[in-house]
């Protein structure tokens, strides 16, 4: 239903996001294309479709895809190719890719397997339109954050502190408190960046300057850092990001 009118997403001004729909069911492809296309009011979204996992792999290897809407069963029911088992292969091609499995199966074992292998989420094909739109929107935000995190750490070796500003300010401002998992992810990044800056600079104004933040914002973040001993560390290596 189109009863809700969400406000424009702050991520919209950031970058184009490309969604790839992989499903051998023409009805589902068209349905998801329309639902994802609805988000063009909120994001700069480009939607592509294909009908086989092999096509998906070829597209992923040649084009920047941010979100994959993935079916589970491809081909005949009795001898189908399991899309869930291909999740690691998709992520190996593009580590910041977010994968939302949309399957005809509501078996908990499939859901657990998909999430364990790295899917962002799992929906059934009978899910309400609004739920599918919401999950796509959440996954796009995570894709945006993941891509920015990768970019920042890939730039880290070049000492470009302005990318820190992107990480610290924009995601925190756009996610609010609606998505605790994402908030935790960004705060763990914030903690790491602040700790690194504290090792290099002794005064708040120097830290603020290095990170491209105001002094007041820096003081607030530093005090939160001191108060928040529960934030878990973020392990990041070049080209790969893991949240513990």
């Amino acid at each position: 239903m189109r009863s809700h009118q969400p406000t424009k997403d702050p991520t919209a001004s950031a970058q184009h996001m490309t969604i790839l729909i992989v499903d051998d069911d023409a009805i589902t492809r068209k349905r998801l294309e329309l639902l994802a296309g609805d988000l063009k009011r909120l994001f700069k979204v480009h939607v592509r479709t294909c009908s086989t996992p092999l096509d998906a792999i070829q597209i992923l290897q040649s084009q920047p895809i941010h979100l994959l809407l993935l079916d589970k069963e491809f081909g005949e029911t009795e001898n189908f190719e399991n899309g869930i088992l291909l999740i690691p292969e998709f992520l190996a091609i593009r580590p910041s890719l977010q994968i939302l499995v949309i399957s005809g199966s509501d078996d908990d074992r499939d859901i657990i397997q998909a999430l364990t292998l790295g899917a962002f989420g799992y929906l059934t094909k009978t899910s309400h339109d609004d739920l599918i739109r919401l999950q796509i929107r959440r996954a796009l935000r995570m894709a945006y954050l993941s891509q920015n995190a990768l970019n920042a750490y890939q730039n880290d070796s070049k000492n470009q502190p302005l990318t820190y500003q992107e990480l610290l300010i924009r995601p925190l401002d756009l996610i609010g408190e609606d998505f605790p998992g994402v908030t935790s992810f960004v705060r763990s990044l914030t903690k790491r960046l602040l700790e690194e800056a504290k090792t290099k600079f002794h005064k708040n104004k120097d830290i603020a300057k290095a990170l491209g933040l105001s002094e007041s914002r820096t003081s607030t973040l530093l005090s939160e850092l001191d108060d928040n001993a529960e934030t878990k560390p973020l392990a990041v290596s070049r080209g790969e990001t893991h949240v513990h």
């Binding site: 239903m1 189109r2 009863s3 051998d24 069911d25 023409a26 009805i27 589902t28 068209k30 349905r31 329309l34 639902l35 009908s51 086989t52 069963e73 081909g75 005949e76 029911t77 009795e78 005809g104 094909k125 009978t126 339109d129």
Partner: protein
């Protein structure tokens, strides 16, 4: 070839979801747009395949792959 209940359930859920979305797309509008119409046509085609598979003359249609 026999009718596969799992396949039929899967196909019917796809048809139902497709038609629901097509109806939702027309909410607040006087007519159904081209996208909604395409979704309805795809759903109708799938229903025809299901219907044919249930006829005595052609019981195995549902065992085929999807219309990729």
């Amino acid at each position: 070839m026999s009718i596969n209940p799992s396949k039929m359930r899967h196909d019917l859920s796809s048809v139902i979801s497709g038609l629901r979305t097509a109806i939702a797309l027309s909410d607040g509008k006087d007519s159904i747009d081209a996208d909604g119409k395409q979704l309805i046509v795809l759903s109708l085609k799938r229903l025809e395949i299901i219907y044919q598979s249930l006829s005595e003359k052609n019981p195995g249609t549902l065992d085929g792959s999807h219309d990729a």
